[in-house]
């Protein structure tokens, strides 16, 4: 199906179902239950899930396949956002030119940075990418202010020209208001709510458009992983020496891979601008580069679905887990005698709410040490355990002792 093996198609199908059903799956708690704050099914967060999913898918093409660890991918993300914003300002409020342009510009920037950084490998490569990204960040925040808006960032405004004809999203005002990013008239922010019993589900256009783009990205990633090009990238990771004595020039392979990966980051950046038309230099900061590394490793570097899972998990932690406060904890431990509940609240408190980084860090360490294959390996281990258990009764070979 679609040129994929049964297994890969199954994987794509699972991801597609998850993306489509996310507004329902992520809102498991009734609106006015005490658990409602753990509902993650609101448009803003769901958009972030899929956009960072794209970012991580792209990062994984570089890191997962070739083992080259870039610490500068946020530069491509931010550059994609700026490029997209300019299209929204100059051309049209339609998101399509914005997204296309963000991919192209990020591709050009990654070609330049990759060209230089790929002269080195290992830690030196990582440091070079980090240096370039920090340079991009500093420039965006200072010298390039006319393009980037400096510290205040870049927003859509009433004075933007938007030269395309109106039916293509041109025109600078929408009845005196700044027009909102849209796809042929459908606004990204537009949602409709469905209430079923005590539950409330929000279906948002922007989320579904970003979700479709993520599914396409995921499909492209599968094709790339299974292609001869993907095989060569795995060979780069395994033994570059053997590769060159086998008649293969590793340099263009690496550069192509770096550019493809950078374009995915640009795509994610463009989508961010399309969902929320504002961007600041902090999107390029090294913490953002580090985040995508964490996502990929946490989910499982080199696996297809791992980066998407990792992106979801980290964004969930950042937005939901971080909201647990002292009052919530006190509610949870209320069934205990007074002194005891105080004790537990004090113990647990540093790990939740603003302390979510601590929990994430511990989780990350646990994954690195016990599950080098990330969440995907966890899933595989469970799968094997389950298979073995269900197989035991059938096979009567277990000796009775």
């Amino acid at each position: 199906m679609l040129g994929l093996t049964k297994k890969d198609f199954g994987l794509l199908l699972i991801v597609a179902v998850l993306v489509i059903a996310a507004p329902i799956l992520l809102n498991p708690f009734p609106v006015d239950s005490s658990m409602a704050q753990f509902n993650a099914g609101y448009p803003d967060l769901m958009q972030r899930f899929v956009i960072f999913g794209i970012f991580a898918i792209g990062f994984n093409i570089l890191f997962g396949l070739t083992g080259y660890l870039s610490f500068g991918h946020a530069a491509f993300l931010g550059c994609g956002s700026y490029a997209g914003m300019w299209m929204l300002k100059l051309l049209s409020i339609n998101v399509i030119p914005a997204i296309i342009f963000s991919v192209i510009i990020a591709g050009i920037l990654s070609l330049a940075i990759g060209w230089i950084s790929l002269r080195r490998s290992g830690i030196y490569f990582s440091i070079l990418t980090l240096a370039f990204a920090q340079m991009a960040f500093s420039l965006a925040a200072s010298v390039l202010t006319p393009i980037t808006g400096g510290e205040t960032g870049l927003q859509t405004s009433l004075s933007d020209p938007r030269i395309l004809p109106e039916f293509l999203g041109g025109g600078s005002s929408d009845g005196g208001n700044i027009p909102k990013p849209s796809l042929f008239g459908i606004e990204m922010g537009a949602s409709w709510d469905v209430a079923v019993g005590p539950w409330l589900w929000t279906f948002n256009w922007g989320y579904y458009i970003a979700g479709i783009v993520m599914l396409i990205s995921f499909y492209i990633a599968i094709r790339l992983f299974r292609s001869p090009f993907g095989l060569m990238l795995k060979a780069v990771k395994s033994n570059q020496h053997r590769m060159s004595y086998t008649g293969l020039n590793t340099k263009p392979y690496m550069l192509a891979c770096f550019v493809i990966s950078g374009m995915f980051a640009g795509l994610a950046g463009g989508l961010m601008a399309a969902m929320d038309p504002q961007v600041g230099a902090e999107r390029m900061q090294w913490t953002a580069s580090g985040e995508v590394v964490l996502m990929t490793i946490l989910g499982g570097a080199g696996t297809l679905i791992g980066p998407v899972l990792g992106a979801g998990l980290i964004k969930y932690f950042e937005n939901i887990f971080s909201k647990i406060n002292k009052a919530t904890l006190e509610g949870w431990f209320a069934f205990m005698p007074d002194g005891m509940s105080d004790f537990f609240v004090t113990i647990v408190y540093p790990f939740v709410g603003k302390g979510w980084h601590l929990t994430l860090g511990l989780m990350f360490m646990a994954v690195i040490i016990f599950l080098p294959g990330g969440l995907v390996e966890l899933g595989q281990r469970f799968g094997r355990l389950f298979k073995r258990k269900s197989a035991t009764p059938a096979g009567e070979t277990t000796p009775a002792e």
Partner: protein, 252 residues
């Protein structure tokens, strides 16, 4: 004129003269053995042929073209493949993937951006890889990860990776080291067959004299970086200079 002509090659590592005025001519379709004690410079000589090292002076011509100044992948694309002294394989990949990669390099050149159609749709590549695994008798190990192979199997895999490219010149650096006797004999048979049926010229470094005398048509003895003699196997056995080279080593 041989297919490979090495003339006046010198290579120094600091104060050590690893190669001193080496001349070597390998005739097309022949098997040429290079023997000599440890540290004689045999591997260094091969390194100069495949672009890993650049000789200080001298020339290396392959099929009338100089290989000096070319990168390893260019030299491979000219038709020279090499089996290394310590196996160089793609350890994280499966045996089958290991042999497919050189097939792609042979078919599509040093770089080609085929990022869309899956590997499995390349029937010709699959058939080539399948056939060579049968030749080296490893078809039952095709799904194994290369790092889990025995040392002997790693060598056979590396040999398969070189052979599948149908090179014009195959350089083998101690191809049977670490192999069991039976495997060594299989390897001899394989190399013989390949040399005869597929017209692949071979230069082989070997310490195992059984292998050398079963395969070689010419033998060059290298000692301390300099060729002592070049002879047929019959004439080399009792050659006084050869004795001297190996005895010299024994005394150290």
């Amino acid at each position: 004129m041989g297919i490979l002509e090495v003339k006046g090659v010198n290579k120094r590592f600091g104060g050590l003269q690893a190669l001193g005025d080496v001349n070597l001519s390998v005739q097309e379709n022949s098997v040429h053995a290079i023997i000599g004690p440890n540290g004689a410079g045999k591997s260094t000589l091969l390194n100069c042929l495949v672009g890993k090292l650049i000789p200080d002076t001298g020339s290396v011509m392959f099929d009338g073209q100089s290989v000096l100044g070319r990168t390893p992948y260019e030299i491979n694309q000219m038709g020279i493949s090499r089996v290394f002294q310590t196996p160089e394989i793609f350890a994280d990949l499966t045996v089958f993937e290991n042999v497919m990669i050189p097939c792609f390099a042979k078919r599509d050149g040093a770089f080609s951006l085929q990022a869309y159609n899956p590997v499995r749709k390349n029937r010709d590549i699959h058939d080539m890889a399948e056939a060579i695994l049968v030749d080296v008798n490893m078809q039952d190990k095709r799904h194994m990860t290369a790092s889990s192979l025995s040392r002997g199997d790693k060598r056979r895999l590396e040999m398969a990776m070189c052979l599948v490219q149908q090179p014009r010149l195959l350089l083998l650096d101690e191809p049977t080291a670490g192999m069991a006797r039976a495997d060594t004999n299989n390897t001899i048979d394989l190399l013989k067959e390949i040399n005869e049926k597929r017209d692949i010229t071979m230069a082989i470094i070997e310490h195992d004299m059984h292998v050398v005398f079963s395969l070689a048509e010419r033998i060059t003895v290298l000692a301390q970086g300099t060729p002592l003699v070049e002879e047929t196997p019959e004439n080399i056995k009792g050659h006084p200079k050869v004795r001297e080279a190996y005895l010299g080593e024994a005394q150290v």
